[in-house]
Amino acid sequence: MTESRGSDERQTETQELTRAELIAAVKGATHDVFSTMLGLEIEAGESSLKKPATAEASAVVSLVGLAGTWAGAGSMSCSASLACMLSSRLLTTECISVTEDVLDSVAELINMIVGNVKNAVEERIGPMWLSTPTVIFGRNLQTRSAGNQDWTVVPFRIGEETMHVQICLSRSRETPFREGRPGFLIPHMMNL
């Protein structure tokens, strides 16, 4: 997270963001969302830096984009059974299969997590805007970044299962400032 600064005046006003700060923001936001909305105290595992390549027998992946002086995306991936459990807790309704309710719930969870990461870091790096969340459910799916950026991956253990929250954030080459929710493409490709 140490890209050189451009000549844009707005860029020179912002500061760098360390990976440790980003990890702390992800852990804090995820913990806050899960404890407040789901009543779950979750424990973060050791974070890693990598190109995302997830393969699950049956997985739910939710993504939300970030745009501003810094841009990127955040995602959350978990098994279908864990997605159902999280949705059951969020909606206080039993969910036994991946329905619209489950997909909506997982979309809202990543929206809140990335929204709170954004709140935590934008005082340092400038304002950002969130895209509408996208959720994908499939079997044996793989995710791949279209760019070269590494993703910061933070695993969270929930019971016997693991959920991964991933974030990719780097300084924009251009400053796409536009008020409102951006409709840009998330730098992520899915093969179902």
Binding site: V33, T36, N111, N119
Partner: protein, 122 residues
């Protein structure tokens, strides 16, 4: 009884807020739902609503644009609009207050936070 309009592009959040309202010890009448500001304005034109809970980040028309359009209409000037959003930055909160928001709840929220914020409107 007070009719309430919930505006959020997340069906999950609309369900949660609906449940919290129903469980709160306040006299809630009909609860209308809209998934963006455009739909919300259509509901306001057709129904008499006493309180609005609105997200900020939504497609088509976001919550701040919706709020400014509500406050621009004489008939809705006194209608309380409480923002419920992940947007927690001071600038965004101030912008909402300047536009006439009656309150601000940051997501994630607890049922108690929502109930306490809304108690004064019933």
């Amino acid at each position: 009884m007070l009719d309430v309009l919930i505006v959020d592009d997340s069906a999950a959040i609309r369900k949660i807020l609906q449940r919290v309202l129903r469980q709160a010890a306040v006299p809630v009448g009909t609860v209308y739902e809209a998934s963006d500001g455009v739909e919300a304005l259509e509901i306001l034109k057709a129904q008499t609503v006493g309180l609005v809970l609105s997200d900020i980040n939504m497609p088509n028309m976001d919550g701040l644009e919706f709020l400014s359009r509500v406050k621009a209409q004489e008939v809705w000037k006194k209608l309380p609009v409480v923002m419920v959003s992940t947007e927690g930055g001071q600038a965004k909160v101030l912008e909402a207050v300047e536009l006439g928001a009656a309150g601000y709840v940051r997501k994630p929220f607890t049922a108690e936070q929502i109930k306490s914020k809304l108690a004064g409107f019933f």
